[in-house]
Structures are given as structure tokens and as C-alpha cells.
Subunit: 147 residues, 2 copies
DNA sequence: GAATTCGTCACCACAGCTGTTACAGTTGCC
DNA sequence: GGCAACTGTAACAGCTGTGGTGACGAATTC
């Protein structure tokens, strides 16, 4: 922890919020990247995960781009979390000495602790929808595309 | 997230469990490192954080080493968490485009989300003491020091 | 057919974490 | 006093995960 370098959940929430703010407008990865402060390829990487989870849809070709598939009130932060993080560890586990019986047992206990922590995060994120988060952001124009 | 590379919390819990299993025995960082599967310097780094939090005490010099300061039943995983992670981020935040008003607002909302997630983890870890975790590990001999 | 955008790969740069070495300070023992 | 054992800490190297960039094919619209 300390300073997790993976920001995909934050980027995912950011993207979902932008798309939800204009549910009927097809938005390009380049435009979205402008507001998020990153690049189109990274945006497509994260949106790809969200699409696998059914939260967004994409359309290739000219006039293509991205759309949300559900109203923001029905999208919970936990949905974004599951789409991006899945079943991955959240606390960061180490590799105990395989020759140390006690160490191995502690190790297994820590896996269980990690699982419980992940569930706690998910439960917390279950309480907030994109609509809650976006209150006050709706309909604000995104930053002008810098490209 | 995805795969947090910082394992200090896990190492901290591991160390506390080993020390708690033999509350009256002074243990050296070299011996502890053997079970944890790391090196003495790293062990001392993590134990240093735990000492700042008052969870352990150290004694330099010959016959020196480390001791817990409280019975394991009074040490919660949340204590270890606070000692090691403190107020650091847990979800991983990105840097939104500072010129994008909407982006900045989402950014602030995400900071709040992160804070709530951190509290959720802490609350979950508050439910488990080292004694709970160590049930069945107590009094097991640690791995023979490999050095 | 031209323009636009997604989808994806390959590669690079950077940041954070851990491992290692080194060395000063402290303590116990002979 | 001299030596051995340990902590405390700094400096540096190596590894790994993440994100940035460029490239290019496929799909779609006009």
C-alpha cells in the first residue's frame, strides 16, 4: 500500500462518471483522455475491462466511441471495482519461508484476512452509485480536447 | 491494486505473530527474517514502524532484539495496519487534468471514496486480534535460523 | 476511397519496493 | 579494555508493475 501505483479503479470511475454525465453522447477515447489526464490507449485499456463487465459499449469506426449501457443510478462503484480489480489481492501478501511451518500457517491466515478486507471494500463501494458521485457534475462540459 | 507490491502490512502481521508466540523471548531480526522469508534490514524497517506505534520494543547490543509490549489478545490487526499504512491511500488515485473542472470535482470525490474504503478496511481489521490469528500457531518453533 | 476511431501489440521510462552492503552506536561478556 | 552480537540507518542496485508512446490493422461513416 503506502502508495499504490495502480490507478485503474480511479480512472475507471472517472471515465464512467464522464460517460454517465452525457449518456446519449458517443465520446471518443481521445476526448475522455483529456479530462482524465492520460492517453487514449490507456483509456481504451480500462474501458475494455468495463466493457467486459457490461458497463459500457464501444463502436469502432468514424463517429465511433463509447457509451454507458445503464443509467448512472444503477451503476455502483462496486461494479467498477469488480470490473477493474476482480479477485485480485488488496493488501499485498508476501512469500513466507516455505520451510517454516508457522510462517506458512500465518501466510494462509493472511490470505483469509485479505479476502475479508476485499469484501469490506466492496461492501463500502456498494453504497455509492455513480449518480451519487456525480451529483453536481452532470452536464458540465468536459475540457476541450487538446488534440 | 491488482497486485500491490507493498507487503509491509503482511510482513508486519507476520512479525507480530512470531513475537507474540513467545512474548518473553528476545528475538533477533535475523531470526525473524528467516521465518518471514526476507532479510534482517527489511525486518528492522517494518519493526521500526511498529515500535513507533508502541507495539514492540527493541534492545540494541549483544543479547539484544525485539519483544512485544502487549499480550496478543490486545493487539488488533487494525493496530498493525495503522502502524504500517497510516493515512496513506489504499485505492490508488490518479492525477486528473487540472484544467478540467469536472475532472477536478471527480478527483475530490475519489479522495473521499478512498478515505471511506480505508475506514472500511480498518473496521474489518479491528475485528481480529493477533491471538485470533495465531490460534494454532502458538508455541510452534520457528524455522531454524539459516544464517 | 478518405477520414476517423477502436483494438491491440511492442517497447520505453518511471516509480515504488525489496535486497544488499556498509558502518556507526550500543550492550553484554571475557 | 577488547571483542562479539545486535540494532539503526543510509546508500545503492535490481526487480516489477504501471502508464506513456508509436505503430498498424480492422471497422465504420461519409
Amino acid at each position: 500500500m503506502a502508495r499504490p501505483t495502480n490507478t485503474q479503479f480511479a480512472v475507471g470511475v472517472h471515465l464512467m462518471t464522464l460517460l454517465s454525465a452525457a449518456p446519449d453522447v458517443v465520446q471518443t477515447s481521445t476526448g475522455l483522455a483529456g479530462s482524465v489526464g492520460t492517453n487514449p490507449v490507456h483509456v481504451r485499456r480500462v474501458l475494455g475491462l468495463l466493457r467486459q463487465a457490461g458497463l459500457v459499449a464501444s463502436r469502432p469506426g468514424s463517429a465511433g466511441g463509447w457509451l454507458v449501457t445503464r443509467p448512472p443510478r444503477e451503476i455502483l462503484l462496486a461494479d467498477v471495482w469488480r470490473a477493474v480489480v476482480g479477485e485480485d489481492q488488496v493488501l499485498g501478501l508476501h512469500e513466507a519461508n516455505p520451510d517454516c511451518t508457522a510462517g506458512q500457517r500465518i501466510q494462509r491466515a493472511l490470505v483469509e484476512v485479505d479476502r475479508r478486507a476485499a469484501r469490506a471494500i466492496e461492501a463500502e463501494l456498494q453504497a455509492t452509485s455513480l449518480a451519487d458521485l456525480a451529483d453536481g457534475i452532470d452536464r458540465l462540459p468536459a475540457v476541450a480536447a487538446t488534440a
